[in-house]
Amino acid sequence: MNWCLNAVPPLALRCWGDECVLYDVASGDTHLIQRFAAALLQRLEQSPADAATLARYLAADDDAVVLAALTTQIDDVLDDLASVELVHRSAA
């Protein structure tokens, strides 16, 4: 299952330190998100991806334990972003 971005690129995203604000053009909503979540959205701007792919994209190394934990974290974060309709899961 891939994660897909709902917003139309380019993202309206501004970051200061570890926090970012994102403007969703479709809904008119503005969201306060962490930079980690912003990085995921910016990667999904390029193409849909599953959590494991996103983990390899973000990880500093290939340690399997680290990647597994990161994959779970990524799914949790993207579930939160899906609840505000910024992303969705797709079987394609």
Partner: protein, 306 residues
């Protein structure tokens, strides 16, 4: 030529017809009214404002006068007309001045969508502006009134106008509205300040308006660089506290206080983000005015801010 060049009788005559044309910041307004009390208040509070040509472009035409029918005489009321429409219910006639000020604020906040319009006081010193967003009752206007009597320039006590593109603050200096206990606080703090008489039993309690400093009106075309966003809160007995908040959190709170953030869409987002790029943000709690002023005087802009 300013309004104070008109003798009171001439001012009152012109207010009846054809109206008084004034330049208030970037907006030219035309006020018409047959009410003698309102004429006196306009002459007092708008004395320093430039008269504008009657045949020039007028942004807002407003008229305050008695309604038709019994309420012209029986518990007399006043109505506010904007471009011949009646956007508000009538008020008791002695509330004509607050109604004028509320009505003019409504005109700007409803129609001046060229700007990002924040519900905030804004003041300036040494070229740098401090934006004070706050809900009613937070002590924003009291703090603003004190600061402009101690060296800060009034840009606005109610509506902060942010210019698109460069995000400079565009002044809209108008009489400062004070409520309830804050009226006597500021009168005691600055005995030389000029006030309209108190108006009682309004929806906001007792209201009086303070004449803006002459210099603030004279410099109404001097834009300012925003440098600070300070969310004020008056708390009796509280220690003076200035607590930094992150720009992302400042963004969300500032957007909440912006009248036209949603209607401006992406432009609104970009404008608030531009402010956050320039400004340090704080929560500010105070109970002693002199301590509050010392805190503001000690604010420094970000290095390299033009």
């Amino acid at each position: 030529m300013n309004l104070d060049s008109l003798a009171p009788a001439e001012l009152a005559r012109r207010l009846v017809a054809p109206g008084i044309h004034l330049q208030t910041g970037q907006f030219q307004i035309c006020i018409q009214s047959p009410l003698p009390g309102l004429a006196a208040n306009i002459g007092l509070l708008y004395a320093d404002y430039p008269l504008a040509p009657a045949d020039g472009f007028t942004d807002f035409h407003v008229r305050l006068g008695p309604p038709a029918g019994l309420r012209r005489w029986l518990r007399p009321q006043v109505i506010f007309e904007f471009d011949s429409a009646l956007p508000f219910k009538p008020l008791p006639r002695d509330q004509a001045l607050p109604m004028l000020e509320w009505g003019l604020n409504w005109c700007v906040s409803s129609y001046a969508n060229l700007y990002l319009i924040i519900h905030a006081a804004v003041i300036e010193k040494n070229g740098f502006a401090a934006i004070l967003p706050a809900p009613p009752g937070s002590g924003k206007s009291t703090l603003c009134a004190a600061l402009i009597n101690r060296g800060w320039r009034l840009l606005s006590d109610e509506l902060t106008l942010v210019r698109p593109g460069d995000h400079k603050i565009v002044p809209l200096p108008r009489p400062v509205s004070l409520k309830n206990a804050s009226i006597d606080v500021i009168k005691a703090y600055e005995p030389s300040a000029v006030f309209s008489r108190k108006v009682f039993d309004t929806v906001k309690g007792t209201i009086a308006h303070m004449k803006p400093p002459t210099d603030s009106v004279a410099r109404a075309n001097d834009v300012a660089q925003p440098a600070w966003v300070v969310f004020p809160k008056y708390e009796p007995g509280a220690a003076t506290t200035l607590a930094p908040i992150s720009q992302a959190h400042g963004f969300m709170r500032l957007a909440d206080n912006t009248f036209n953030y949603s209607s401006l869409g992406r432009h609104g987002f970009d404008a608030v983000a531009g402010l956050m790029d320039a400004c340090n943000c704080f929560d500010f709690t105070y109970s002693v005015i002199d301590e509050a002023i010392a805190t503001f005087d000690a604010l420094t802009p970000r290095p390299g801010l033009a």
